[in-house]
């Protein structure tokens, strides 16, 4: 009954499955992102305080969310790989890292662009911005550690330990606006009680987050396929298939 689950750890099976799944992630992602962009830019009324400049929220908030989401996925995949010694889990963890680093960079850059006209500064060393920057350093450190080993197994397991040690940063980022007084505004959506953002502004935000999540699914499918190809380049199944 669980054969379908156990087969997921097999590289050739996963390779085929990911190849079939990728367009099912990719096209809906594109449609959702384009829809949410059009909606956020044109349909949503301007904010009473920030005017039209707030619309960068529709890129900034989803990328920040995805940066943390990707790190958790990376850490969980690393833990699975360490505990059950599944090489594909390590491959998935490796595939997540550049995607997560890009999301983190995007969140920092869009936040900075938003900050200059709105709050008067490109950067401030408050708890949330600093911990998000730390997340970028953790991603870069993870990729650097991976690259420094020649043997795949040691690279996998060492970077897995690093990913798990660094996961403590993710709740710090999330709760930083609650625990400290920061320039970054407190949570409007992921908190107890009603969201403190107008419903008409919330819908494109959710659409964009859904689009980004599907984009992540597409990106990870593509990257993981590439990772499988790289690791299994001498394997029999690949030589037969090509």
């Amino acid at each position: 009954m669980w054969l379908w689950f156990h087969k997921l750890a097999s590289p050739p099976h996963a390779y085929r499955l990911l190849g079939k799944m990728a367009p099912w992630f990719g096209w809906p992602a594109l449609i959702l992102i384009l829809t949410a962009t059009w909606w956020g830019l044109f349909k949503v009324p301007p904010d009473y305080q920030q005017g039209d400049a707030f619309r960068i929220l529709y890129v900034h908030a989803p990328s920040a969310w995805m940066s943390m989401f990707t790190y958790v996925v990376m850490a969980v995949a690393a833990a699975v790989g360490l505990i059950w010694r599944i090489k594909l889990a390590h491959a998935a963890s490796a595939a997540c890292a550049p995607i997560g680093a890009s999301f983190t960079f995007l969140a920092l850059a869009t936040g900075s662009i938003w900050g200059k006209p709105m709050w008067g500064t490109w950067w401030v060393w408050d708890a949330r911005l600093t911990s998000e920057l730390l997340l970028l350093f953790l991603y870069l450190g993870y990729m650097a550690l991976r690259a420094s080993f020649d043997e795949a197994q040691r690279a996998d397991r060492a970077s897995a330990v690093l990913a798990i040690v660094g996961v403590i940063n993710v709740p710090i980022i999330h709760y930083s606006v609650q625990w400290w007084t920061t320039l970054h505004q407190p949570a409007s959506v992921t908190k107890m009680g009603k969201p403190s953002i107008a419903a008409v502004m919330l819908v494109p935000l959710f659409l964009m987050i859904a689009g980004f999540q599907l984009y992540f699914g597409w990106a990870i499918s593509r990257r993981l396929r590439g990772e499988i190809l790289r690791r299994e380049r001498n394997a029999g199944w690949l030589k037969e298939a090509s």
Binding site: T130, F137, S148, R154, V165
Partner: protein
């Protein structure tokens, strides 16, 4: 055959490290000299005015202590992995995390503790007032202790990697940033006349978390390093 009790095993590891360091004590003083040199660079680079330096003195002392500790951390496990001692620890049947913690404790005594002892002197050279000495020492005690454990994890992961010292810094410094923030803030707060209890308590909490979970990560990392 009787198994060595764990406190005895820890004591043996601890003593071995101290003895080895005693024979090469110039390696122990090098991070300390680096510490003094780095702190000297700041007044040369910014301003000789003590009133202005005072504002950043806590932070500079902390950053210099972090960087000096990092210098010493790269060699933490290197010689043990090279001559096979770590393999013997893994095979010994003793709890690996406990032995590694003992080694890290010896390392801290040889590198972290001298830094903490020097820190009031170095801070005063940067204009640090006397009333901040206590907070500086306590924050650095907790901070260097935590850094030794975090650095132990990093050193265990990167042992044997070519040019591992830069990679080690890249891995350990982001994890050490909260320490730096709270430590420097505590000194800044006491200089402003506020109570530094908040950041010091957070430093202590981080230290105890590192003390309890660090050996787990270190032993996992060491096992990975010696397996191949």
């Amino acid at each position: 055959m009787k198994r060595t009790p764990i406190f005895e095993a820890a004591r043996l590891v601890f003593q071995r490290d101290l003895t080895l360091a005693w024979r090469r004590w110039d390696e122990v003083t090098q991070p300390l000299i680096f510490y003094v040199v780095v702190t000297t660079m700041f007044p040369l680079a910014t301003t000789p005015d003590l009133a202005q330096l005072r504002v950043i003195s806590g932070g500079v002392v902390w950053v210099a202590a972090l960087l000096s500790s990092l210098l010493a951390l790269e060699a933490l496990f290197r010689s043990d992995v090279e001559d096979g001692t770590t393999e013997q620890w893994v095979l010994s049947g003793q709890p690996l995390g406990w032995l590694l913690l003992s080694k890290v404790a010896a390392h801290w005594m040889l590198t972290g503790l001298p830094l903490v002892v020097m820190s009031p002197i170095v801070g005063t050279a940067l204009g640090l007032p006397f009333n901040a000495w206590g907070t500086l020492v306590i924050s650095l005690l907790l901070g260097t202790g935590t850094l030794s454990i975090l650095g132990g994890i990093g050193a265990a992961l990167t042992v044997g990697v070519r040019r591992g010292s830069v990679l080690l810094s890249l891995l350990v410094l982001p994890l050490a940033m909260p320490l730096l923030i709270f430590g420097a803030r505590s000194v800044g707060m006491v200089m402003d006349g506020e109570s530094p209890a908040g950041p010091l308590q957070l430093l202590a909490a981080i230290f105890f978390m590192a003390l309890s979970l660090g050996p787990l990560a270190m032993s996992a990392a060491i096992r990975i390093s010696v397996e191949n």
